[in-house]
Symmetry: C2
Subunit: 432 residues, 2 copies
């Protein structure tokens, strides 16, 4: 008898097959009839256990199952009699692989803390499973786009000797005789070395922020994709980001229709984001916010509430570009047309999902960069190697960083960042 998975159910209609998986749910209909919701890695299926068809002995085994029992089921897949495109399974036999007594997650509402403490089990639920599958798709959609566009993967280090932007949110690690190392918050500076040999590079890995906030938006460990490209300037930098994000949108809709439905994601709304993105200057955005009654100045940054207002009524993400230099990083290139501004752009997702990308053209002039490092009060010695990149064959270049979990949230419509990563780490949560 053939061992199959629910991925191949269509090709096995009417044939006797074997499947391995878990019991998601079950119910008794009568003394002769029971229903088992069986799940494997790919899908759920309703298995019908009818005593006259199974025989007394096999039917008895069905009575032994409970939530999350692991089982092997034998029987015949059929088209569902009422729901088109769905399947049923006529059970002939069932063997228990592993018992599951008093599975702690039931149908009743559990508190967040309880679910997070049982994250290793909670991830078996349909919605959590769907979120993790979308995570997989978003990851590879990003990589596919970059690889097709001549970006090389270039893994930047996690253990770093100094901070690119302040130290208050850094995790410190004792490091042999060197004193301390810090967990990376971005690989960007390293990528800028990489482009000088590989042209276009990216990293994609965990970054860390010792953030003391407990909001639904913050993790202490999250994933970031940083990309950097030689000979790319501000406008083209935004074009690349737009193409990339639209590719991700289309790919998720294409590969995860089922998962988006499980999560009640409005797919039509998501589809609308595959259209030209809007671009506004920081100043235009401030004006718009002022018009909406927000008390904000022309040198101010935005918080989450302002981000929501910016894309209100917009189906597509919005680039906010040309920022006052005071509120952006030292490595951003000055705007030729107005040296008070830098050529940075943040990309704000629609539907209130906030900032998903931060990027900029980078300062490629050695002396201007040195001046910025000094005026920020950083130790020049720490940035000597970074300055070298402007000393030996400097080129115009740009880059951007995608907050991976933020992007998954937008794709999946999940409001809590802790649900789009397998084992979330927060200020008060490092278990399991």
């Amino acid at each position: 008898m053939k061992l199959i998975t629910l991925k191949d159910i269509k090709e096995n209609i009417g044939k006797e097959v074997k499947l391995k998986g878990w019991v998601r749910n079950y119910r008794k209909s009568s003394s002769k009839l029971r229903f088992v919701i069986f799940r494997d890695a790919f899908a759920d299926i309703q298995a019908v256990a009818f005593k006259p068809e199974m025989g007394e002995e096999n039917f008895e085994k069905v009575k032994q199952i409970s939530l999350e029992t692991s089982v092997e089921i034998i029987g015949i897949p059929k088209e569902h009699q009422k729901r088109e495109g769905e399947f049923e399974f006529q059970l002939k036999d069932l063997n228990i692989i592993g018992r599951s007594d008093e599975y702690p997650i039931g149908k009743k509402d559990h508190g967040t803390d309880f679910l997070l403490s049982n994250r290793h089990l909670w991830m078996r639920s349909r919605k959590q499973n769907a979120a993790l599958k979308i995570r997989h798709t978003v990851y590879y959609a990003i990589c596919e786009y970059l690889n097709k566009n001549d970006f090389y993967r270039f893994d930047s280090p996690i253990l770093t000797p100094n901070a690119s932007e302040g130290t208050t949110t850094l995790f410190e690690v004792p490091y042999f005789d060197s004193g301390s190392a810090y967990l990376s918050q971005s690989g960007q500076l390293y990528l800028e070395a990489g482009i000088m040999t590989l042209g276009r590079v990216y990293d994609f890995g965990p970054v860390f922020r010792a953030e003391k906030s407990k909001t639904r938006k913050h993790l202490t460990e999250f994933w970031m994709m940083d990309a950097e490209a030689a000979f790319v300037e501000h406008e083209e930098n935004m074009n690349i980001q737009e193409e990339l994000i639209r590719y991700v949108v289309c790919t998720v809709i294409d590969r995860n229709t089922k998962e988006l439905k499980i999560l009640d994601r409005d797919i039509n709304q998501l589809k609308k984001a595959d259209a030209p993105f809007k671009r506004m200057t920081h100043r235009q955005v401030i004006d718009m916010l002022k018009n909406k009654g927000v008390k904000i100045g022309y040198s101010d940054d935005f918080g989450a509430p302002e981000e929501e207002m910016i894309t209100e009524g917009s189906d597509v993400p919005i680039f906010v570009e040309r920022w006052p230099k005071e509120i952006k990083s030292f490595y951003m290139k000055r705007d030729k047309e107005n040296p008070e501004l830098v050529l940075g752009a943040d990309l704000i997702a629609p539907e209130g999902f906030g900032e998903i990308i931060g990027g900029s053209q980078r300062e490629d002039d050695h002396d201007i960069l040195l001046g910025r490092i000094k005026s920020e009060g950083y130790d020049v010695k720490d940035y000597q190697w970074f300055l070298d990149l402007r000393k030996y064959g400097s080129v115009p270049h740009s880059g951007f960083g995608i907050g991976f979990e933020r992007l998954i949230q937008w794709m999946s419509g999940i409001r809590y960042i802790r649900e789009v990563i397998p084992f979330p780490r927060m200020i008060n949560r490092i278990n399991p």
Copy 2:
């Protein structure tokens, strides 16, 4: 005029084009003739600067270049007159983008420490560039194989609350009120939760080992791919690994012929590894080593010298399987035929490249696993969630971990692990 890269040189033979990149080298042939080795992200090309063809003014600009000057070159690509399949560039004009005065890496031999301190520049060399390109290929070859075989990416956490195997080589990180966190050495335990919802999963990210050894084989931060699969037992586990590694071998040969040549890699030797792998029990290996005169016992582990001897004379990797339980991890499943052994297998690469994979079937019996945790002296509380996986629908399962840099070393033939990662971290090296 069209801006192209050296990737598209073939399609532009005879046309006037523009290229952007760097000067790898140059030489004066006569007062009228100079040669410039131009490089971009894809290749090198010799540009011929002949005064009568360029004109006085443009030829003067060529005289201003130095090692690693960034330039824009304008001219006509041609087939190389003598070397088939190669190209030359007839220079018409050259514009300097960024100067490069006294580039520190020259033709003379530099010491390792000097090169590592200038890693941000050293990576521009042909061999370092080739190694990083092979790294990219190996990464995606692994992902491609796994994705095609129904494995889902499942990012395990870096910040972990306790050690799976001892604490002496762990990096400790102060973590808010929780006391300490530790940097992960393997995501395996987390993946075992993942398979219960996604069937087959893998992670692929940095792991950390506070290793006090300074050998050419050790990094404190390196990359690991851990895979785990439900319903897969010991034999199939090895089959998956073999197929995966053979896929990587073929992919690297296919996509990186040029880079392998730059590194003087013996491609024919590498090709021979695409054949059935050998399998030996730990006991057979000990017997073989004894025959070769090694003083070793039946309960001993191997070191690097023994690993080299094991694959001596073998073109293919060798699985060493069924190990004495004392020298392997607590989570490995006992061999039914001999409870003194566990169903683990290490894969040893040929040509002296040592262990590239460690894997095993996992203990899926709750009580046996609990006994192992206790007898190792671990705190059961720390492993409660891991035990839960055997309590609620346990299934037979197996997994393995690939040492990413070790595998790249074998593919590329590079003997020093520090050369196959962009910014190596070692006991005495965290800069740049």
